[in-house]
């Protein structure tokens, strides 16, 4: 006897039958065939058993803190698989922006404060130096040295 399921393209009939999609003449032909084909009877029986098992299966009840535990476990797993700097950077978006900003600020600090001499002084700084030298020299002039004896005599 020729089994209806032998051509691969016909195997979909089994699933359509189990799903209740077959109607009319197709359904009658399929039922007649199954009644006379031990292989197909076995397949149908197996699929029906499987569906019965799946439909009777109930997932175990989860605890109230299941989500928290799951995320903690995922995080723990991630920490063990990622390098420290990647974990550090992926804490939140704020840090991803803060780290380059802080590094830039450190560079600016290093340049303006820690560097012993700037490459080229700004015009504003030079003017400030000159003004300060003006003050220093004006004050220095009030410190005569050595004191002129003639001046001392006149005082």
């Amino acid at each position: 006897m020729n089994c209806l399921l032998k051509p691969p393209e016909q195997q979909a009939l089994l699933f359509r039958y189990l799903a209740g999609d077959l109607t009319g003449e197709t359904l009658c032909s399929w039922q007649r065939h199954v009644a006379s084909c031990p292989d197909c009877q076995h397949l149908v029986q197996s699929q029906e058993n499987l569906e019965a098992i799946l439909s009777s299966w109930q997932p175990p009840a989860i605890s109230a803190d299941f989500d928290q535990k799951l995320w903690a476990r995922i995080e723990l797993d991630r920490q063990h698989t990622q390098p420290w700097w990647l974990r550090y950077l992926s804490l939140d978006w704020g840090w991803r922006l803060a780290v380059p900003a802080a590094l830039t600020a450190c560079l600016i600090l290093g340049f303006f404060v820690l560097s012993p001499a700037p490459e080229v002084m700004q015009a504003e700084d030079i003017e400030q130096v000159e003004r300060m030298l003006d003050d220093l020299e004006a004050l220095q002039a009030l410190h005569p040295q050595p004191e002129d004896p003639r001046i001392q005599d006149s005082l």
Binding site: I108, M121, H143
Partner: protein, 158 residues
């Protein structure tokens, strides 16, 4: 840690401000000639030479004078902007006196700074002073003494 970023940015902002003149002068004085030349590259050669001469002259100040000058300068920095402006005007007026009078007026200021401040007016109004200094000169001396702190009276014989 999130507070660190604003602090760093604030410090960077401060660092970006022009450094105080005193710090800049000290920095220039510590530089090698090559570093100084590079730092002052934006200046014209004449202006740079003049500035370098002035900086070098600071190194030639005698140690005793340097200490009291530093003290005067620190006191000057503490004056209000208006007081600084007035004092600068007085110092400029003194510098515009004829050379001989300028030296004597400056010496008089130096001399009076070694005297107790309570005696300043009496000395300024004394016959000896009124005979040797004009009204304007005494005014300049008086104005200067207003802003200068007394010097240590190491020599009261004068």
């Amino acid at each position: 840690m999130k507070l660190l970023l604003p602090l760093i940015l604030f410090a960077a902002t401060l660092a970006a401000q022009p450094a105080p003149g005193k710090v800049l002068i000290e920095r220039l004085r510590r530089m090698t000639p090559a570093e100084r030349q590079r730092a002052l590259a934006r200046m014209s050669p004449e202006r740079r030479e003049a500035l370098e001469r002035r900086l070098n002259s600071l190194d030639r100040i005698q140690p005793g004078v340097r200490d009291s000058l530093q003290h005067d300068f620190e006191s000057f920095q503490k004056l209000s902007p208006q007081e600084k402006s007035e004092f600068r005007r007085t110092l400029r007026d003194i510098s515009e006196l004829p050379a001989e009078r300028r030296r004597i007026v400056r010496a008089a200021i130096h001399h009076l700074r070694k005297r107790p401040p309570l005696l300043h007016e009496r000395i300024l109004n004394s016959h000896n002073f009124t005979e040797r200094f004009s009204e304007d000169e005494r005014k300049l001396i008086r104005e200067s003494l207003r802003y200068l702190e007394p010097l240590e009276a190491t020599d009261l014989s004068h």
